[in-house]
């Protein structure tokens, strides 16, 4: 016990290192594990587990669908209907970190037949050869919101069938700023600022920034003030070589954001992040907030069903309309799925109809992408109608792989600008970093 042989000491040290390593890579920020198919993509750091072992285990049914746990019930409902109609068995699995898990599992031949997920995954999925194009006749494509179809179209090919859309919108607290529809964002900020000056609330307009920035939530302000992320080619596909951050419009927008920041009007602050954005508003501490349909439950709980107003985000006075990112949730055919025929048939026939889309809308709690369903809910769910309307006007979030290089640097630039650093320089720095990253990949 006195002396540990040196060789063994090194081995013990290495063991400890490894234990520390593995705990580091598996416990990711999400923390919660909801299904047996969870500790997935992050583990692919250790190659022994990258392929067959760590990937979630695919079920043995005739049709296997992977989704995340928030959409599980909706998928189960439409899948059961399809299974009964075709006399097959179907398994719906909720997989956390669905996209990364899917890419790994599909590659290893253990993936599902159908994947359900956000449209901005498409770029990475196609880059990894993980999904097949979907061949749908034009008259059926026409039944969906054109923006949603634009979202699931990549390299001029349709890759997914959209069922839900989401977009940011402007929430305001009725008891603070009244039951008003604001024509410009400046009006909303002015009304909120009045309440801040009077001491009724702490924030005029909540918009998550945080220390590391949030390029998703800043997009409506950036576009309204004249900026754009990626230009488009003649076919409407995003062009990764046309980055608009440091274009004259982009720099002007950066300046405008700086004016709203901590050294200016102090409307935008790094102390408001995605952690407290919704809770501050729901607690009545903010006059207005920019957020999406996912905030509705908390807002209703906090302010009451009639305590808030919801409208598409208006633009700045005398500037462009605000264009938040539009997101679509869609079905995809896995490229290495075992039961491709059923997968394709499930998407083309099983969910591509009003009944299934209505079920999905009801259970997934998402504004629908099919126009007929959207029109039918106008009366009983005005909030969703507003979000769907906002999504229609919005621009799909770019799905190109280059977009992955944008989030972090642009977010950091926004955080710096909001904190009071030189807007033009921050924006130029971010643009340089993003261009370098895109060129190197």
């Amino acid at each position: 016990m006195r002396r540990i042989p040196r060789g063994m000491a090194v081995a013990v040290g290495a063991g400890l290192l490894l234990a520390a390593c593995s705990s580091g890579t598996t416990d990711t920020t999400t923390g919660g594990a909801t299904s047996p198919a969870t500790e997935t993509a992050t583990e692919s750091a250790t190659p022994s587990e990258s392929a067959t072992d760590a990937a979630p285990v695919r079920g043995n049914e005739d049709l296997v669908i992977w989704t995340d746990d928030t959409h599980l019930a909706a998928m189960q409902a439409v899948a059961d209907t399809y299974a009964a109609a075709n006399g097959i068995t179907v398994g719906v699995q909720a997989v956390t970190d669905t996209r990364a898990a899917f890419i790994t599992a599909n590659q290893a031949g253990n993936g599902p037949d159908v994947l359900v997920g956000a449209h901005d995954w498409i770029g990475q999925l196609v880059q990894n050869g993980a999904i097949d194009p979907l061949q749908l006749p034009a008259d059926q494509v026409a039944k969906y919101s054109p923006t949603a179809i634009k979202a699931v179209t990549y390299d001029s090919q349709l890759y997914g069938l959209p069922y839900g859309v989401e977009s940011l919108a402007l929430f305001c607290n009725k008891s603070v700023v009244g039951d008003t529809t604001f024509a410009t964002l400046d009006d909303a900020i002015a009304a909120g600022q009045k309440a801040v000056d009077a001491g009724t609330v702490e924030s005029a307009l909540n918009l998550p920034v945080g220390e590391n920035g949030d390029a998703y939530h800043m997009e409506p302000l950036f576009t309204s003030a004249g900026g754009y992320l990626f230009g488009k080619d003649a076919d409407g596909n995003y062009n990764p070589n046309d980055l608009g951050l440091d274009s004259p419009g982009g720099l002007a927008a950066a300046k405008k954001i700086g004016e709203l920041g901590e050294k200016g009007q102090n409307v935008l602050r790094t102390s408001i992040s995605s952690d407290n954005n919704i809770s501050l508003f729901a607690d009545g501490k903010a006059a207005c907030m920019i957020s999406g349909p996912w905030a509705l439950n908390d807002v209703r709980k906090g302010l009451g069903n009639d305590g808030y107003t919801l409208q598409p985000i208006p633009g700045f006075k005398g500037m462009n309309p605000a264009q938040p990112f539009m997101g679509a949730q869609a079905f995809y055919v896995a490229s290495k799925g075992k039961n491709k025929s059923f997968a394709q048939d499930f998407i083309i026939n099983g969910v591509n109809n009003v009944d299934a889309m209505t079920t999905l809308y009801e259970k997934a709690n998402l504004p629908p992408a099919m126009t007929a369903v959207r029109d039918s809910i106008q009366q009983d769910n005005p909030d969703f109608a507003v979000i769907a309307q906002a999504a229609e006007k919005a621009d799909p979030m770019p799905a190109i792989p280059a977009m992955a290089e944008v989030w972090q640097p642009l977010g950091v630039a926004y955080a710096d600008i909001v904190a009071g650093k030189d807007p033009e320089q921050s924006m130029k720095d971010a643009a340089t970093a993003i261009r370098t990253a895109i060129a190197g990949s």
Partner: protein, 535 residues
Amino acid sequence: MSHTTQTHPPARTARPARGGGTTRPLPLLVKVLGLGIVAALAVLVTPPLIAQQRWGFLGVFWGVVALLAAVYATKRAVPAKYLVPGVLFLSLLVVYPILMTFQLSTTNYGDGTRTPKEVTISRIIASAAFQGDNARRFTLEVGTTGTVDTGPYTFFLVDQASGDAYAGTEDGLEPLPTDATVTDGRVTDVPGYTMLTKQQINRLSQSGGPLAGFTVPTGESSVITAQGFQAVELTSPLVYDQATDSFTDTRTGDVYTPQRVGDRSYFTDANGARLSSQSWGESIGLDNYKRIFTDATISKNFLGIFAWTVLFAVASVGLSFLLGLVLAVTLNDARMRGQKLYRSILLLPYAIPGFISLMVWSSFYNTDFGLFNELLGTHVNWLGSTALARIAVILTNLWMGFPYMFLVCTGALQAVPSELKEAASIDGASGFTQFRKVTFPLVLVAVAPLLVASFAFNFNNFNAIQLLTEGGPFSASDPTAGGTDILISFTYRLAFGTSAQQIGFASAISVILFILTGVLAAIQFRGTRVLEDVN
């Protein structure tokens, strides 16, 4: 009772004579069961491994079984009986992952390079096929004149627009035999053919099945292919030429050849436009290691982050040990009242799950709504500047770590014999001298290996960084490395962060990290040997 006492003595005397072999029933049973289970496991995994043609794994599995049998079923190799389990687990949990990580670090594996080149080429062709302006869509039934599983197969198609019906084979499209029955726009019966069910079509279309890739040519570059239980006419604009390794787009005449960018190649035309964002996996030797040491931004970041990682680990261990020791010494004094109560309270941080307290602490540092600024009446952006964020991280990690140190120091203190202290005080040593010369060295002997372990843990304390600051603050000009990034969080972002995954490259960093920590641990264990000589 008397019966057992009679049988035992002979059994005991017999044991040494047989050289340690076991004849008692229970150990024998355990041994047989244990080896049986191992053998059964190996038998269990054999068919799937053969099916997947993983001969290496199969060999290793049976090798281990043979080894275990040789060691435990015989009376030879007594030292091996003790060493084999440890060595096996060491190989499985340490050596094998590191070897695999190293192997991965010599490839460009990551986003866009997951597939081999042939697969990438076929994916590019498949993704480019499109429905032309007059593309026809058909209902699809499949029939065969032979058996269901072997074919030959015929697609029976009814045009959904015109209602024209066809029979399609791999030779092309022909009119439907006149004696066939068409009901509701579907071919339901053709004399001489067995019609396949949906389940059969699905099964035969699986990868490697006879219907996978079955197409009916209708023109020079157009085919009819199945989409679920329908069929659609697709035009493929791309032609791949193996000899020149190039794609030609028949619509525009553009030629795409592989062009290298960084660690991978893309099919690119003369103007630099890429045909697809899909590249393919390749072995790239030690390029990833070269990149660590030559790429200016990375090597600059690597050194800075390494220095901060060491500082972070040393500060975390040192401060929490210091605080834990002071508290332990204070509470170890017999004159102290309510020792147990204080000890329980001090252990509370240890009882709360780490990631919860980290998230809570993260909110404490908020500029406008955080606890610190509210208590202190200040308006400091704690996580906004590198220096403050580092202090915040170390402070939080101190809070997370001191209960453990308090616990082990308390234990070590109580093991110090009181006679030693008495002897010291008789010799005239003051309280502090007693502690410095007698108690502390003895405590250190017991605690030093734990300090080394704690250092190794904090060196890779991913959670503390990721949950508090996510590595931030970042600067817009260098968004890959944040102010509080330690090596493991930096690596994590490179491999799995928001931008494209570079798993091969991250593996190279992991290997370097492994070597670094191993060397540091070895040096530290050397240091602790000096301490042990004190005793």
